[in-house]
Symmetry: C2
Subunit: 444 residues, 2 copies
């Protein structure tokens, strides 16, 4: 029987290459100082393969982990495939997604570093819910700046965060300079994630208050490896190791969490495995972006990271998978893609929902719109294998449930959903806004 | 490791007494004919202790069973109790509650009996969602008559049912005689469960269309015993058998499903266990009702069952736990209560939600308003044991999740929630409307 892992997996010792270093922002002026706890920075720099999970964090993981891995027999039958499809499901916790895996770890380290309250910016609300839940666990205060349009459209997300004791503030707000400036400009009355993030950063200026950066940092990917570690053990118990993994790509923590333990085992001489990243055609950073130094957010005051990006100014068309609308990619995932250790595909929204609805009826699990991309990607893989006369074992990361995204499913049913593929012009324009590439860009 | 049971448990051989027989309706005129499949009737009449679960049903159970049983360490810590509290969680399937356990079995038997489509009446939507999911599994059509006020207030419940392929009709509708009559009268423009049921019954007049009765029938309780059977095995694995079980009472299938396997073992000479039923003070059928022959629904055309009831004309005050607003009690649960094999308590709504919010933050599981009654009941049991200097093992049935009931939690937060206790006058009036008790009423 699979147990909750007692250590996170760090792939760096197995990779055989170093990640391109972050670079200071090219612009003069005050820099973004996030005061990330030293323990998290050390994890990111570590050369040790296994990073012990603190007892208190592991005990919390035990509230919902190990998460189920189940074979999708009925989905296979519906597809008429000869492939075996297994789903690793991360939606069974109160935050509803994989993000709680790192939120719990981050809240633990922030509290140990003396924080009394965390601030966070959130778009659709997944990251905000996860941090609110983690803060409730460790007795930390939590202040969530939520993009105003989501705050109004998704009142139940807000209810959950408030039930967990968090204060939820619609952004732009009158509380911060960034909020007042944005509201005054009225360019985006509904708000945007970068405004919400700027407000959360500003609100963390008081002593004891820390901004909790998000789910795209490398330490966050390491925390997520509990997903892949459990899945490996579960498939080993079943005697059916995977030929291909499929996961959706937002910032990279979901994909990384599932894939890194399998990739690491392969790099250490183990079984070969293909890792397929699925992104929406509305935000195709791996399939149509550039590997370049870029900002992780829009302020221009943070460091530059080498990543696959559509440009930090890229505004993706509106789609229901809000978590996949990020312009960039975690640097670790970017480096793996650059070295062809992972593959990437992009799918349009309607095809994704069509598969997700069929999957829900067949398997009794309603995937989040983000996770639906992975489910669709798995169906495409299965059909291709069938066409080529191969049978294979496919592992899908179902990163969250869609019970708070039913408006999206209703739009699909009402046939008011667009495919919203990013145009060549919009991508070219955003890529033209990339910062001048520093000479270090060539070292990777 | 616990497996999905291969047989349902039937307590009748262990009870040592027979249930009072159903009686024909006293009124003349056409009777309600439900054409329940013979296999289900046979289960209800069976004297065999174990009823094999058909392979096809058991395979479906495998999509979400065995369900998790987890110790609520943080909830215990929060209560400061010396008791151990375990939660058996049934909310992890697409229908979101335990009701899918019997819906799957019923859909299987109806299809085997030649049904092409099932009709069903639903109030808050849980039973409708479960039957819609089960019909999707077995390729049956499904037509759900949903109380109009819920149809309008809970659009996401409707979305899920439609995603599963069901047609959802707001009731009263213009489709049926019952619906037209009710709409014409305009006494209840928002509809009621009894009107929705009457519409569903009428819509089942066509060949191949069957009305799927609901979750309060005895066969439904038997199907739900998978919950208690798994929980027994899981606690046995942990070496910590329960001293007390706590479950909420709607019709009785949730309570029965959890309690019957434990009660049966006790009656066969095993370990003594207390079973506590928790009902809302808005609908206190065990604590303030009468053990009498009554109708299970309002038409007056169905059989009379001996049950604890507030009278079939009882209209409970509005509370958010819609599933606990039923006037009666399954006859098996009623007989057990009559013979003091189970206990009953009633709790008011606000105290229930206060505990549920604390439980959610502590354990990362948001209980449905119905299930919240059980969680609160467990907290009360733990505090009492502490006050008496006892430590005990408490098993709580958490029958469903509250992610589609967040409006109720928001009302609690906004302090607009009332306790809505049923008044003496309202209960006395409804009890006065009980049918004349037949002489057979004394045999039980």
């Amino acid at each position: 029987m699979t147990e909750v892992p007692d250590a996170w997996y760090n792939p760096l010792p197995d990779l055989g290459f170093a990640l391109p270093p972050d670079l200071p922002p090219p612009r003069r002026g005050p820099r973004l100082e996030l005061n990330v706890p030293a323990a998290l920075v050390r994890q990111e720099m570590s050369r040790r393969r296994w990073l012990p999970i603190p007892d208190e964090v592991r005990r919390r993981y035990g509230q919902w982990r190990p998460t189920p891995l189940r074979r999708a027999h009925e989905f296979e039958r519906m597809l008429g495939t000869r492939c075996r499809i297994y789903c690793k499901y991360e939606g069974g916790n109160l935050s509803g997604s994989h993000k709680l895996n790192t939120a719990v770890a981050q809240a633990y380290y922030y509290r140990r570093a003396g924080a009394a309250r965390l601030t966070v910016g959130t778009g659709a609300g997944q990251w905000g819910t996860a941090v609110a839940a983690a803060c409730a666990m460790f007795g930390l205060g939590c202040r969530v700046y939520m993009v105003r349009s989501s705050y109004l459209d998704k009142p139940y997300r807000r209810t959950i965060m408030e039930l967990l004791g968090a204060a939820v503030v619609p952004s732009p707000s009158a509380e911060t300079e960034s909020g007042r400036r944005a509201a005054g400009g009225a360019a985006e009355p509904g708000g945007s994630l970068s405004i919400a993030l700027a407000e959360a950063v500003e609100a963390a200026a008081e002593p004891g208050v820390h901004f909790c950066a998000g789910s795209g940092e490398t330490y966050s990917l390491l925390h997520q490896t509990v997903i892949g570690l459990e899945a490996r053990a579960q498939l080993e118990d079943l005697g059916d190791p995977p030929d291909v993994l499929v996961a959706s790509l937002g910032g990279g923590s979901n994909l990384g969490g599932l894939a890194l333990p399998f990739l690491g085992a392969m790099l250490r001489g183990g079984r070969p495995v293909r890792c397929v990243s699925v992104e929406p055609t509305a935000c195709p950073k791996l399939t149509r972006g550039r590997y370049a130094y870029d900002f992780t957010e829009a302020s221009g005051r943070g460091p530059l990271q080498k990543m696959y990006t559509l440009g930090h100014g890229f505004a993706p068309p509106a789609i229901h998978a809000g978590g996949l609308r990020y312009h960039g990619t975690a640097k670790l995932i970017s480096a793996l893609y650059h070295r062809r250790l992972i593959e990437a595909v992009a799918h349009p929204q309607r095809a994704v929902f069509e598969t997700a609805v069929a999957f829900a009826a067949a398997e009794g699990v309603l995937p989040a719109p983000e996770s639906a991309h992975a489910v669709h990607g798995a169906a495409v893989e299965a059909r291709r294998a069938d066409a080529e006369g191969r049978s294979c074992c496919i592992l899908v990361g179902v990163s969250g449930h869609g019970l708070l995204d039913l408006a999206a499913y209703q739009a699909y049913r009402d046939d008011t959903m667009l495919d919203a593929t990013a145009s060549d012009e919009r991508i070219a324009e955003a890529l033209a806004g990339l910062p001048e590439q520093p000479p270090e860009a060539d070292t990777a």
